[in-house]
Symmetry: D3
Subunit: 163 residues, 6 copies
Amino acid sequence: MEFTHFNEQGRAKMVDIGEKDVSFREALACGYVYMKRETLNMIVEGRIKKGDVLAVAQVAGIMGAKETSRLIPMCHNIPLTGVDINFQIMEKESAIRVEARVKCIGRTGAEMEALTAVSIACLTIYDMCKDVDKGMVIKNIQLLEKTGGKSGNFKREEEKPWE
Amino acid sequence: MEFTHFNEQGRAKMVDIGEKDVSFREALACGYVYMKRETLNMIVEGRIKKGDVLAVAQVAGIMGAKETSRLIPMCHNIPLTGVDINFQIMEKESAIRVEARVKCIGRTGAEMEALTAVSIACLTIYDMCKDVDKGMVIKNIQLLEKTGGKSGNFKREEEKPWE
Amino acid sequence: MEFTHFNEQGRAKMVDIGEKDVSFREALACGYVYMKRETLNMIVEGRIKKGDVLAVAQVAGIMGAKETSRLIPMCHNIPLTGVDINFQIMEKESAIRVEARVKCIGRTGAEMEALTAVSIACLTIYDMCKDVDKGMVIKNIQLLEKTGGKSGNFKREEEKPWE
Amino acid sequence: MEFTHFNEQGRAKMVDIGEKDVSFREALACGYVYMKRETLNMIVEGRIKKGDVLAVAQVAGIMGAKETSRLIPMCHNIPLTGVDINFQIMEKESAIRVEARVKCIGRTGAEMEALTAVSIACLTIYDMCKDVDKGMVIKNIQLLEKTGGKSGNFKREEEKPWE
Amino acid sequence: MEFTHFNEQGRAKMVDIGEKDVSFREALACGYVYMKRETLNMIVEGRIKKGDVLAVAQVAGIMGAKETSRLIPMCHNIPLTGVDINFQIMEKESAIRVEARVKCIGRTGAEMEALTAVSIACLTIYDMCKDVDKGMVIKNIQLLEKTGGKSGNFKREEEKPWE
Amino acid sequence: MEFTHFNEQGRAKMVDIGEKDVSFREALACGYVYMKRETLNMIVEGRIKKGDVLAVAQVAGIMGAKETSRLIPMCHNIPLTGVDINFQIMEKESAIRVEARVKCIGRTGAEMEALTAVSIACLTIYDMCKDVDKGMVIKNIQLLEKTGGKSGNFKREEEKPWE
């Protein structure tokens, strides 16, 4: 088994995907922001009257998906056909779960775009709340599913296997 | 206690830092990429002869730090004076620890830049290795220390408080 | 009738265009910069000997078209096949009319790219002349025509319907 | 009177502001999006339950302010200290008024940043609503006030002088 | 013979490639960085123990290729399928030769992407070494080969025809 | 003598300039594009009636200067105070000389910005003319002068030392 991202000089390259087929591809990723219960309450209440942290994180995550190939050096620039992000308030864990679904029609998948969208959305939640809670932790950013392409589908058996 | 990032209409704003003092500020953040032992071995061995995954992640993380204000909507653009990233191979946990130290002289701190540098470095490790290990998980991205500025210093008591 | 840009949580998404057909699409947009007569004269004369404001606006508008999906959060990144911008000196109105034509072959149209090209070209004219005329006004940025795609063509009946 | 943006060859340059003083500067700009009454109603109602067009435009405008020097060729890159955007529903005119206030501490003012923030916010409103109303028109993007700097303050006497 | 990049007003445009066929295209370009022998030795030795200048230049060049259409005003944005960069130590000339191969499947070629990759890689070598050798010179950035597309192939007869 | 751009792990870092003084700094760089005589004639004549290649290269070079820290991985983001580019037609050599002067007030110099401005301007000339002359060569991009900062001034003795 070998990494595909290196050339004969042992230096990184952007692997050639020119012979791969164009197909519909989809990736689903998620991640979590753990915070103080008080911070979570402020986010939940804010949506209604004072200011919606998650609305900003949503926009940031979608824009982040479009920036992926400019942030991740060996990542191909692929025109995305759709990006959606969902948030789930996890009262018990005092956390927010961020999920991103990214679709494209191309020669390579959208895994990195989905993971980047989740990462940027989580970082934005941190940024909006850091004045009240610098101890927040971003956890378990992971690929959940990937479909399309010749390398076959991927489906994580269990959402957090290494906890 | 209130979020500072919202205006009277309840909409997000970039808070005015014009009255804050210019001071030397520094932020230290870390995160982890958990992977299969086999993947970790490939990264470790690759450095010597086949291709250095972490060299690419290093560059990506530093460039990511400089992109922070363009990725995080309410984040100020601050000229950074220094960025450094360190990697630690964690044999026992089969993980790589990524640490970013960011320095600036300005009216607001570099916490978001340090967290973004860590995130982009972790995503790059994922990207370089995903052909052999799609199950990798990015974990516990967190601020470790922050110095400078009027709001005082921050030092996390324990590196992973919510494990 | 409903907006298409929101998901079930009521949050913005980048709508999935994966099932739309690839077709040739074209959009034409225009806008105006109103200014003092003296400023207009300086622009007109400058082309010949002192410096061409519109040459800079031309380049800025074309580059702006290519930045559209990075500026407009829910806008898809589409590879453009052609962009052209034309300027018309309107002596009587003491204004410059900016027109942008953008072409692409893709699953969604180029309306936003044409409107963005016009906006950035107008802003650049303002920037180049603001030292002599801060009162300039950018007016009536509008879509004139759109062809291609399943939703049918659009043609504005009259160039400035709400004057 | 002469344009300052051209060199001796008659070509555009980024003018040297190195001898200007660092001072607190502020700019206020506004613009309008005219639309069908039905579209305005959808936006107003959407905020409450179906999806908030203006929340996306807010984020886009603020991020747009930060991109100004990358979009407007001769514009200096200045670290902004604060950006705020306000929307006003104009029932009678069937329009939305967008106002941006941008602050910085530097050697040149933030007029272009305020005008760009307004432009990008207006374009985003157009983008979010264009499936229901392609005829929307962006009107009267203008500088309202500018303070700070040696060239003196600017205050528009009347908001739309050339209607 | 005429330039294709200008419209009827004599202003630059992004030429319409909508009628060109989609085909596999490839471009190969090279360039050189001349330096003091001492500097070259430091780069060569650094790879092994102290820090790998060329690893950074490699990443910068690949990321630069992806930025091409944002840097070169009339250049189309084309999704690249592969980018590789190779370095050759030229002991005798006390120089490093940088070669970039870029592949795409599209309506226009990747010449500019290959030339930009080489330029950015050369500039990065300069940046990393400028503290010890400000006199370095970047020389002979040139297209070596281009295949694909209707306009036919190009192959430079001799690598440096105008020395 | 040692490179300053590497950390203790032998990996690249953005060196800390936080202890350097803020001072006025200036850099002057140049480069050349060699081309067929016929191509040079087309550029010279185009300025007057058919389209001004150099006007586009001028804008691209200035915008390129502002992108430097995003292209060169270890380069600091410094707010530039002024950028100017000059072109010189070299009839005898059948070449265009591009010169960029960049000024800033900061903790590090503008050498990379000047060199990047020259590189992007040269690449843009290539792009605008490549349909008539793919054999053009970009030559001798070099720093001519640097003033300001503690490390002292630099002045190249002779413009092309290694021809």
